[in-house]
Amino acid sequence: MKRRSFLKGTLATSATAVAVNAGLLIPTTVLAEWNTKAFGSKTTDDALSSVFGSNSATESSDIKLKAPAIAENGAVTPITVDATAISGVESIAILGSKNPMPLVCEYTFAPAALGFVSTRIKLGQTMNVVAIVKADGKLLKAEQEVKVTIGGCGG
């Protein structure tokens, strides 16, 4: 009986912790330039609307999205987005469709840079990794499923 109430108690605390956490996700003190709204968005579409002002991206084979088919450890998933075949790349965003907040990172390029990014991201479970490339004002997209055997978002 004692054990049961103990378990109940801990469950309740963890539930409140989740609630508090959700509140914390929108930090109160942020640098002006950091896009709080986009990074706090819970769906891929919302995040894209906040970053690019639109969520309708066309599939493009010119974007080379390199991601592992199976990631043994979701906490370290190497992702490479190569959009050097496209001219006028302005920015690249990488999203994990089923992460609590899908937008992982967003890169803006000055004329001195090529449309290429390679980095490592966390994936909580098996999901699609989405790369969005903005070139000449248009949104292009590439998607690939990554199977995750160990989640990387804690919990």
């Binding site: 801990t10 605390t13 963890s14 912790a17 508090v20 956490n21 914390l24 996700l25 930090p27 942020v30 640098l31 330039e33 950091w34 896009n35 990074f39 906490a75 370290v76 998933t77 050097t84 994990g96 992460n99 609590p100 907040m101 937008l103 992982v104 990172c105 967003e106 890169y107 803006t108 390029f109 000055a110 001195a112 840079a113 090529l114 290429f116 990014v117 390679s118 980095t119 490592r120 991201i121 966390k122 990387g152 978002c153 804690g154 919990g155």
Partner: protein, 103 residues
């Protein structure tokens, strides 16, 4: 406390691939502390800026879902001898920067 960054880069026919390895926990604020049942407070790099000879080349914004000890690689138009600089700021205001002369 400054954030440590290691950088490598080599220019080949006008294009340099710059790689940076940043030492940072990248705590998303989602991971639970098993002992206390509370989440670990968020601590992650929010902005990354890479410049060549003082001109901004790449400007990035990150969330807490970039892996711990982040690795980032970009390609920029630069020749050997050019100076590449990277600077990062996290959500607690900690900063880090590093410069590199391209080979």
């Amino acid at each position: 406390m400054s954030i440590k960054i290691r950088m490598r880069g080599k220019s080949k026919s006008g294009v340099a691939e710059v790689k940076a390895l940043i030492k940072h926990p990248m705590e998303s604020g989602h991971r639970m502390d098993k002992k206390t049942g509370k989440p670990h407070p968020a601590k992650f790099i929010e902005t990354v800026e890479i410049s060549v000879n003082g001109t901004k080349a790449v400007d990035a914004q990150w969330s807490g879902f970039v892996s711990a000890n982040p690795y980032v690689s970009v390609k920029i138009k630069a020749n050997s001898g050019d100076e590449v600089a990277i600077s990062v700021v996290d959500n607690t205001g900690a900063k880090g920067s590093s410069t590199l002369k391209l080979k």
